[in-house]
Amino acid sequence: MNFFSKLMQLDRRWVYLLLVIVCLTAYYSDFTVPTIVEDETKAIYDFIEALEPGEIIFVAVDYDPSSQAELHPMTYALVEHAFRKDLKVIFTALSQNGPGMVDQAIRDITDSLKLPKTYNGIFYEGKDIVNGIDYTFLGYKPYYAIVITAMGQDYRILFPSDYYGTPLDSIPMMRRVHNYDDIAIVVDISSGSITDAWISYGQGKFDFPLALGLTGVMTAQYYPFLQSKQVMGLMGGLLGAAQYEQLADNPGLAKDGMRVQLPAHLLIILFILIGNVGYLATRYKERKV
């Protein structure tokens, strides 16, 4: 058995082990990689940056814990940016395990904003983020397509009260807010087909600005909606989150994670090259025989 035949029969666990070693080495090494911001992420940042204090943005947290690695950093960077600008946020979670994600994000972001900090050269005093005044969490309802359509008429149809049981009319920031006409933008941060519903049943029917934050697996298939201008901005995977963190001058887990991506990707490219060379060499030898 020659080298290439052995290579083709290599136990895949050696590949995993090598990848783990490379990732851990990169994680514990002190180096940085530049993050190049793309237009589709900058479009979202610029839109949020241009809003006036008091305006309302709608953040749909449509992902489960299985996707939090990529999508939580987006939610954190975007919502923290919005709160720093004194914007108000309406949250929903149309994914069945999503409410816990919103709960955790609100808790962490609220804690982070209590500390005074400087972002992009501007000093921000620490402040308390208050439920009902700065944000409202509507919660989860099943059958997202119907929920998205109903919210175009009035949030109260399906959400008579918020996630914590407070009637929507008793919540100060929701008193004059009824549907998508009263918000500046919908940002859907999603790991599944709910995004399709936001495009067709939400933006397509009610014509509001829609921005997407997607897992890496989904990103490529949503670029056509960017080109057709149905979507005004798009953050793709951990890279998109890192780009937003860079723009907001708020480096977090995504920026840190991109350091590890570089050597891991190089290793995978190397594996692909070796695998293909091995395959071609074996095929060549078989033909010769």
Partner: protein, 266 residues
């Protein structure tokens, strides 16, 4: 961090390592984590559905005197007839209603937004004034628009099977398949990034939330110091060490029986 909070952090760390242990081979710790995940997800969903949908959107409405909510309530109950063989036909009525509403809602909107608007985007005039764009791979540049147009048309040609893919037609179809391959390549690249991201997140969790907390808590000036932090940390690793020793012993005892050797080939 309180000790009880750290205890749950340790449970999460154990489950993370248990799931990763599947990369070596299927094992009882992985099975435990998998079953726990399925059970907790289902239980969590039921509670969220009960308190988030059924109570405020049905029971509370009925209690407030909105009696017409009785109709969707009954339709919902009819769905449970599926569990009884003789009366399972009853469940078809609410299902038919649901499918009818969903289809009625979906067809015009899907057609308008996923077909028509995509077609319009294809018919936009090409940006000749900024053909080379402002920067590398500029999505708004003329050459990007031209490539998208040519790529879309040739990919559609590839799926036209009523004519043999030969000559000029075959060349266009060939370009179409290359365009499709580029799309698949982009998806694969993003998928690799996504999978590595999941692993990075778990490293960050194990390091920052678990490891660093366990050892920083050992600083006695910390008011929440608890000796159990490090004990829990090492206990988890001990479980995996014991399992590794057990597996190694099993491997040694099976060494002379090649047909039973553990491992999978690529």
């Amino acid at each position: 961090m309180e000790f009880t909070t750290f205890l749950w952090t340790t449970v999460a760390a154990f489950l993370t390592l248990a799931v990763f242990s599947f990369l070596y081979k299927d094992n009882p710790m992985y099975k435990f984590a998998e079953h726990l995940f399925v059970g907790v997800s289902a239980g969590y969903f039921v509670i969220i559905l009960w308190h988030g949908a059924l109570v405020p959107n049905l029971f509370k409405k009925l209690a407030d005197g909105d009696w017409w909510y009785f109709v969707p309530g009954i339709l919902g109950v009819m769905m449970f007839a599926r569990f009884f063989k003789k009366s399972s036909w009853i469940s078809r009525w609410p299902l038919a209603m649901y499918i009818g509403i969903s289809t009625g809602l979906a067809i015009p909107l899907e057609m308008a937004n996923r077909v028509n608007r995509q077609l319009w985007a294809m018919m936009e005039p090409i940006n000749w004034s900024s053909f080379w764009g402002e920067r590398y791979l500029d999505i708004g540049s003329g050459y990007s628009e031209l490539f998208i147009f040519v790529g879309t048309v040739s990919a559609l040609v590839y799926f036209f099977f009523s004519k043999a893919h030969t000559g000029a037609f075959g060349a266009v179809a060939k370009f179409g398949i290359w365009t499709l391959m580029l799309g698949f390549g982009a998806s694969f690249g993003f998928t690799v990034m996504a999978r590595i991201s999941l692993f990075i997140n778990r490293i960050q969790y194990l390091d920052i939330n678990w490891g660093q907390t366990a050892f920083n808590a050992a600083d006695t000036s910390n008011v929440n110091y608890h000796a159990g932090f490090q004990a829990l940390f090492w206990a988890v690793w001990l479980i995996f060490l014991v399992y590794a020793v057990f597996e190694y012993k099993k491997y040694l005892s099976n060494k002379d029986k090649p047909s039973q050797a553990a491992g999978t080939s690529a």
